[in-house]
């Protein structure tokens, strides 16, 4: 999946598992950018009695690089605090939860958000050790004690869930909005097929192990996620608080990624049922482009990738230039489905541009999201490109929609199909006009269209979570 359980270690730590990152100019508020980072994958809505929550022992960060150096100039840092009203009941709630202050809500979670200006990665772990740099950071608390909504339990416990969730959208002043809590997972994928030897059900008659064609199966359509969503004025993210107007201007592009960090040591003491922590914060999960760690980085490197910062992604260049998936496709779909891809042995400069540097000017008419030569996995968003309000293409840039992935990422973008087509060679023609993509490359799809009820038109754009009483429906 995009980054759900994508690496061995983080698959055992869902609370810190960063599953998707989105960054887009807000369609209903185009003077702002919305940044979304999701955690706690594959939530089955009825998952009580200990319903899903963020980790009080995790720091969640959303990073902004606005000068192309691969390290953040701005970080938004989120921490959580869980409060238990009554430890003598097994219940999450002892009656209907009708407001965020309801005395029936037993286990509540609150959060803080701070903005840090400077390279905030100096605070975490041992990869960066410059105390002087850390001392130069400027930290500003934007909000404290902000309520998360409860999980959506069912009609008896959370009877008016929409109002509860709406009340948990906090206006922090200065044009900043924030939300943290459960939502419907917006990421759609035919998980069962894709990891069954890269089967694509609409094309499985052409697979090495064939079967009749079929429509795709949306494996995440009844699952929830935990979302951190932040909406900020564009000027808050740019150097000198400018609002870029010219898409061709290099300073119009920001890089965005997210991460989760834990303390280096945790001690479990059975004598007093205590949990103790010590040591520096260590990054355990990160995410920029969807599927990067999932399908580009090999199994033996995935945990290391999660611990590194984007500025170190040069170490993974070879996996982007010669991706395993691009080699597999002609093998798994033989009989001349991908003859041109099979013959393509040159480094995939197109994928390097999409994933590690951004697309330079002149590659796609009217578009660029190039941040320079530093190789770093980030979502790159051109802030001067307005949102597409009428019929946005879920194929993003490949569908002729300059406001969609890989120009940042919107919640409904079909990133699996976009990346499948790119890995199949469709985008190689952008940098080598002599290359003729295979016809199949432009057709690849999982055969899925996301249900409209996964999204909403307003912040935080992912729909309220599915409730545990009605989901699954049978």
């Amino acid at each position: 999946m995009s980054s759900h359980r994508e690496a061995p270690e983080i698959s055992k730590d869902p609370v810190a598992d960063n599953t998707d990152v989105y960054a887009f100019v807000s369609p209903d508020s185009p003077e702002t950018v919305t940044l979304i980072s999701n955690f706690v994958p594959l939530q089955d809505p009825p998952g009580g009695p200990n319903f899903f929550e963020f980790g009080d022992d995790v720091i969640y960060s959303i990073y902004i690089d606005n000068d192309g150096d691969g390290v953040p100039e701005i970080s938004y840092v989120f921490t959580f605090n869980t409060q238990l009203r009554n430890p003598d009941t097994f219940l999450y709630n002892t009656g209907p939860i009708t407001s965020l202050e309801s005395p029936n809500w037993n286990k509540r979670q609150f959060f803080s958000v701070a903005r840090v200006d400077g390279d905030d990665t100096t605070r975490f772990g041992t990869s960066s050790s410059n105390r002087d740099d850390a001392a130069k950071l400027k930290t500003r608390l934007l909000g404290d004690g902000l309520a998360c909504p409860p999980c959506n339990i069912g009609p008896r416990s959370t009877p008016n869930y929409g109002a509860l969730a709406e009340a948990a959208v906090h206006n922090l002043g200065d044009g900043v909005k924030v939300f943290a809590g459960q939502r419907t997972d917006g990421f759609y994928v035919d998980l069962g097929a894709i990891f069954d030897l890269a089967d694509l059900r609409p094309f499985q008659n052409l697979h090495l192990i064939p079967s009749p064609t079929a429509a795709g199966v949306d494996a995440t359509k009844t699952l929830n996620i935990h979302t951190i969503a932040l909406q900020v004025p564009i000027s808050h993210l740019t150097p000198n608080r400018t609002v870029p107007k010219n898409p061709q201007n290099g300073s119009a592009v920001i890089g965005v990624w997210s991460a989760a960090s834990r303390r280096k040591v945790r001690m479990i003491d059975n004598d007093d049922d205590g949990r103790s922590e010590s040591g520096p914060w260590v990054q355990v999960s990160r995410l920029g482009n969807p599927l990067f760690n999932e399908v580009v980085v090999p199994l033996g490197e995935k945990d290391r990738w999660n611990a590194l910062y984007p500025a170190g992604d040069k170490a993974f260049l070879k996996y982007v230039q010669h991706p395993e998936l691009s080699k597999l496709l002609p093998v798994l779909y033989p009989k001349e489905v991908f003859p041109h891809l099979a013959a393509l042995s040159k480094p995939r400069g197109d994928l390097v541009a999409i994933l590690l540097t951004g697309l330079p000017p002149g590659v796609v008419p009217g578009f660029q999201n190039y941040t320079g030569k530093v190789l770093a996995d980030q979502l790159r968003l051109n802030l001067a490109i307005p949102p597409t309000k009428s019929n946005p293409s879920r194929y993003g840039l490949l569908g002729g929609d300059l406001a969609g992935f890989p120009n940042g990422r919107r919640v409904a973008d079909d990133v699996v199909s976009i990346e499948l087509r790119a890995f199949a060679g469709l985008t190689y023609a952008l940098i080598d006009k002599s290359y003729k993509p295979d016809a199949a490359a432009g057709l690849l799809t999982e055969g899925l269209a996301p249900a409209a009820n996964r999204y909403q038109d307003t912040f935080p754009y992912l729909a309220p979570p599915l409730d545990g009483f009605d989901t699954p429906s049978s």
């Binding site: 930290t139 040591v265 007093d272 520096p280």
Partner: protein
């Protein structure tokens, strides 16, 4: 005298957010006997713990026994020292014949 090798700093989660002086300093202030006081003791005495674990314990582990390197964590600070005497005392204090986990020695004797 301990030979300081590397250092990494930061603040605790709480102090990080509230931008106040944090537990890093507090942890350092936990009542750990000074080196001078320890110097007079021949060997540690095994006891039952007399109090619950602190929430932010000072932790040390032998990083490289041959080189005499010990890493000490206090709050969100982590410092590695070259200190052969401290390394040896930790190794002497390690339970002998302890089982290993996953084919490697435990945290006190990698």
């Amino acid at each position: 005298m301990a030979d300081r090798k590397t250092g990494d700093g930061g603040l605790t989660r709480l102090s990080f957010i509230k931008a106040s002086a944090g537990l890093a300093a507090g942890a350092a202030a936990i009542g750990v006997p000074g080196a001078a006081a320890l110097a007079g003791e021949e060997k540690g005495v095994a006891i039952d713990p007399s109090s619950p674990s602190p929430s932010e314990p000072v932790m040390a582990y032998v990083r490289d026994a041959e080189r005499g390197e010990v890493t000490v964590m206090s709050g969100t600070d982590e410092t590695t020292y070259r200190d052969r005497a401290l390394t040896q005392r930790l190794l002497d204090a390690a339970p002998q014949g302890s089982t290993t986990n996953g084919g490697v020695n435990d945290v006190l004797a990698p």
